[in-house]
Assembly symmetry: C2
Homo-oligomer: 134 residues x 2
Amino acid sequence: MTNTDATTTIAVTISLHSGLPAYEQIKEQIKALIMSGGLNAGEMLPSVRGFARDLKVSNITTIRAYSDLENEGLVTTVQGRGCFVNALPGEIVRKQYLDEIAANLTNVAVKGKAAGLTLKELKQKLEEKFNECD
Amino acid sequence: MTNTDATTTIAVTISLHSGLPAYEQIKEQIKALIMSGGLNAGEMLPSVRGFARDLKVSNITTIRAYSDLENEGLVTTVQGRGCFVNALPGEIVRKQYLDEIAANLTNVAVKGKAAGLTLKELKQKLEEKFNECD
DNA sequence: CTACTGTATATGCTCATTATACACAGCAGC
DNA sequence: GCTGCTGTGTATAATGAGCATATACAGTAG
């Protein structure tokens, strides 16, 4: 028995012209899949070739994404076999999310104040967004 | 009497290695000055040359910043005279801030949910940030 | 051997940034 | 009014980093 006894089918969509580099979009969506449980520890990611073909980008772009994810400690790639999700990837992503949330909220506080918004109004806007997203 | 009967002294600091392009940092800080009242309608911005010398960047970098600000409707530059703040620049910047806040809060909501945070916890974090910044 | 996996090299494109030379505005002095 | 100096913004060509590509190379497993 190998590491993968189930076919990993993941849905990723990248939109060029979105400002963000393609490899960043791929990384973001893989992280989201990890957090949502759509991608679990030990599972194999799509092959760099097949994934690149599906997304209509070059191999290098998917390689870049996987390479970054490996540097962040989320996956491990081994030549000839594939790229596999590490144990407890959710912990790492969660920490990244918390940092990002803190940075966003700082910006919201600073610019909200500059725009003359009250804390109550900001909280209200946050609640709306929170209820909007499924 | 000309457009400028007072010397405009503005404090701007750019940090290279911050990830953001120098011209973006200049734009951001000028907008912040407009919102804080440190830069009022009719006032003249520093000359592209002097500003570039002070910030230790090239003229082109300040030109790029001023050019962007002009495209956003915040300033008007006239050859041989200088770059001047338009009327009601605060309205435009405020709208930009509101859009940015909305985008940030959407991201906070999505990633906060994914990280298992409750609305209450997010509001609490927002309140902390709000009270921290002067 | 064959068919799958990841990897390395050389290339082009875009964008941020630079140095240098150019063009217009305004004021001083003849 | 003209001349010239010094302030202002402007245009051109060149450099460097980062994103993306195609193509050829290398390991794994049946």
